[in-house]
């Protein structure tokens, strides 16, 4: 038996590296007015203005065809842009989901009209997307979701509830998964379809859910006889589960799966200074840097496999499990070694960032598939 995964070192090609300095310079200029609280949000920080600026520079939809507003650059160039933005804690949330998941999905499965309508707007940083998957009774077990879409004259009628949808109140469009067929006839995973839903459509009610930090990123969205046109169906009817799943290797292995807490580390190093003679601090920092190095290599290796057309689901699950583990450990560990109180004290970036991350890190192993689900996928891949 050979291992169920494959990881080999992969270096960012020089052509992609060439872009790094430019992005870094841009980020440094922008970063001066981001608070610690803000950068700790990483890719859940929502700033339409920044997204528009990035759109102007051609850093959204980088790999997409030019005819849809894309820039036909390599995946590795995109990777460099993403990791530079994330490392600095740039608030990229207003275009993140569209750039990472929704855009590629539309590009792959959307109709010509759907592509023309949405992709250029995404590339300009003007179309914010959210994903409507979870429901009150369908969390990790997504296939048991119940919100339904029925065929009606000229289109579809949606009823049901979605929950935990990030930034729905600020977004323009949702790609939602709805039941269109009977589960008995199609099996639990069949009979689901994806829809492109303009969130301004009548019948949609968005109720923010206040989270433990006092903010309201999450929402509950109620669909009450929402009428959509024929063109709202995304891809193939009843095939939505497979469509949504195919994206998971992308979603689980990107730099966003191990860099969420990263902005803390340079702040902590700055506070500690260069003359630290406490070996235990050195060990803690060394362990974090070693793990970051390995995770970056794993993430790059997966990126390379995706490029060559493979679907490294096993590798992605391993990387996500290890990556979110590191993201979660980092805030507590850093709080232990630096002299900073986790406070929302204006101006003290380290304190602010700690205050936010200590509260939200438990969610890192929930989003994008829980640790338990990742372990199940890995165990299955091992032949258990």
């Amino acid at each position: 038996m050979t291992a169920a995964y494959r990881f080999s070192p992969y270096a960012v090609p020089p052509q992609a590296e060439a872009l790094r300095a430019e992005v870094r310079e841009f980020v440094q200029a922008e970063a001066s007015h981001w608070s610690g609280w803000q950068i700790a949000h990483s890719w859940t920080g929502f700033d339409r203005q920044l997204s528009r600026k990035l759109g102007e520079r051609g850093w959204i939809g980088m790999t997409w065809p030019k005819r849809y507003g894309g820039h036909e650059r390599s995946a590795m160039e995109r990777y460099v842009v993403l990791e530079e933005l994330l490392a600095a804690g740039a608030p990229v949330g207003a275009h993140w989901v569209a750039d990472r998941q929704s855009g590629p999905l539309i590009l792959r499965l959307g109709s010509e009209a759907q592509k023309a309508k949405y992709l250029p707007a995404i590339c300009r940083g003007e179309a914010a997307f959210c994903i409507g998957l979870s429901e009150p009774d369908a969390g990790s077990d997504l296939a048991s979701l119940r919100s339904k879409a029925e065929r009606v004259e000229g289109g579809w009628r949606l009823n049901g509830r979605k929950i935990w949808t990030t930034y729905a109140q600020d977004c323009d469009v949702m790609i939602g998964l709805f039941r269109t067929g009977f589960s008995e006839a199609h099996g639990k995973h069949k009979g689901l379809s994806q829809f492109l839903i303009d969130l301004q459509t009548p019948g949609i009610e968005i109720n923010p859910i206040r989270d433990l930090t006092g903010e309201s990123h999450f929402n509950e969205i109620v669909f009450d006889d929402v009428l959509l046109g024929e063109d709202a169906l995304m891809g193939v009817e009843n095939d939505g589960w497979a469509q949504a799943n195919a994206e998971l290797a992308f979603e689980r292995s990107g730099p966003d799966r191990y860099l969420s807490s990263f902005p803390l580390l340079p702040l902590a190093l700055a506070q500690l200074g260069q003359a630290v003679d406490d070996p235990s601090i050195a060990r803690d920092i060394g362990a974090l840097v070693a793990e970051l190095t390995v995770l970056r290599q794993m993430s790059l290796s997966i990126q390379n496999q995706l490029e060559s057309g493979a679907t490294p689901l096993q590798e992605a699950a391993i990387t996500k499990l290890l990556g979110t583990g590191l993201e979660q450990r980092m805030p507590g560990l850093i709080a232990d070694i630096v002299e900073a109180q986790p406070l929302r004290r204006r101006g003290d970036k380290l304190s602010e960032a700690l205050a936010y991350l200590i509260q939200v890190e438990p969610s890192f192993s929930l989003r994008g598939g829980t640790n338990e689900i990742m372990k199940m996928i890995i165990a299955r891949g091992m032949g258990l």
Partner: protein, 396 residues
């Protein structure tokens, strides 16, 4: 049966502690003490029996047994002091299942004749007992055991195999769980049977462990004839008999003594290696110290509750087994990790440090010895299942 005449339970805690301490100082052989070389030192075979007989002669044997059966009749509080003092004096551990397991079972569920016959022989070490429960296909799933005992007249005829029998090769007798009947529920039809290891048809094969020691054995039964009188409790009701004991076993395994030894060694290593100024090491050490302290309190609280209620230990003692075994893992792991390459040497090591002397031995051996603790007597996975279902009330 000779009842114990001395009543040490009547002493004040302090008097009791003082007397025991004086006795140990006078009688326990210095060369057999646990120390930094052998923090987990165990005695078996003749040296163990000799020491147990010394305890017996001076009225310090079987602290938990009632005095009418020759034990000390100590309250749980005094039993704790008893174990603390033994630990404090560096008395090596002895796996004496006759005293810790069989005796209490017979006292509770055995016949008067069984008590009369076996208990004094346990106390004077004429009989040394081992436990025959696990089988090759019945480990964590103990109730699937298959070793059979068929009644023929006044005798059971036993056939089958036991495995992981600790120190069977040093023992004279084995208490077993055997299948005597077939029922829909596999826990039924099991009987608790006492077997003399000298009976024809028994073969004992030691199993060498990864540290090179013959700690475990396989025991084979080939048409072994056992008197019907050796049945403890009712026929087919052995599971209940054994279960009454499993709780005691978990309390016994849950003792914080070993962890205490490992922590002492850890503190010593920290000094020897000059790591007192290393904040990370000291943090870890302090954490382990605090955890051990908490655990000692938890242990004595649960023991007190058992003593006060007079009832056998409840399912919550699974907590003790999980906590103690994992704490021991953490401590031995700490000792290895701070010791660098010394951790991989088998044998005595001289630690380079402020005072260069031989201070420890076989750090990894200790880690290995700590390892199976999370497996035997019900793997920790099984204990957590018990806790989740019985104590927390989570549904399967």
């Amino acid at each position: 049966m000779t009842p114990m005449t001395i009543d040490r339970d009547a002493l004040s805690d302090e008097e009791f502690r003082g007397q025991l301490r004086a006795f140990l100082a006078e009688y326990y052989p210095a060369e057999l003490k646990q120390d930094f070389y052998r923090p987990f030192r165990r005695l078996r075979g003749e040296p163990a029996n000799q020491w147990l007989r010394t305890l017996q002669q001076h009225g310090w044997r079987a602290p938990a047994w009632p005095r009418e059966h020759g034990g000390m009749g100590l309250s749980f509080r005094k039993q704790l002091i008893y174990h603390e003092e033994l630990e404090h004096a560096g008395v090596a551990r002895i796996i004496d299942l006759g005293e810790t397991q069989l005796g209490p079972t017979l006292i509770k569920l055995g016949s008067a004749a069984q008590c009369e016959h076996y208990l004094p022989r346990i106390l004077n070490c004429e009989h040394v007992w081992c436990q025959g429960y696990s089988e090759p296909n019945a480990g964590s799933d103990l109730a699937s055991l298959r070793t059979s005992a068929v009644l023929e007249g006044d005798e059971f005829v036993v056939n089958g195999q036991k495995i992981w029998t600790t120190h069977a090769n040093d023992s004279t007798h084995i208490f077993t769980l055997v299948r005597t009947g077939k029922y829909a529920k596999k826990q039924q039809g099991i009987s608790f049977l006492l077997i003399d290891l000298n009976t024809p048809g028994i073969t004992i094969r030691p199993i060498i462990n990864l540290a090179g020691e013959d700690e475990f054995c396989e025991v084979f039964f080939d048409n072994v004839r056992v008197p019907r009188d050796n049945l403890v409790g009712e026929l087919d009701q052995g599971w209940t008999v054994a279960k009454a004991l499993l709780g005691y076993e978990r309390v016994w395994i849950g003792s914080p003594a070993l962890a205490g030894k490992a922590l002492d060694l850890g503190q010593h290593l920290v000094q020897q290696l000059g790591l007192e100024s290393d904040r990370g090491v000291m943090d870890q050490l302090a954490q382990l110290q605090a955890d051990l302290h908490d655990y000692r309190l938890l242990y004595s609280r649960i023991c007190d509750a058992i003593a006060d209620s007079g009832k056998p230990p409840g399912p919550e003692v699974s907590m003790l087994k999980v906590y103690a075994s994992e704490l021991l893992h953490r401590l031995t792991e700490f000792n290895v990790s701070i010791s660098g390459e010394y951790g991989a040497v088998v044998g005595d090591v001289e630690l380079a440090g402020p005072s260069a002397e031989v201070t420890a031995t076989d750090l990894y051996w200790q880690l290995m010895m700590a390892r199976p603790v999370t497996i035997f007597a019900g793997a920790n996975e099984i204990q957590r299942d018990i806790l989740a279902k019985t104590v927390l009330g989570l549904q399967a």
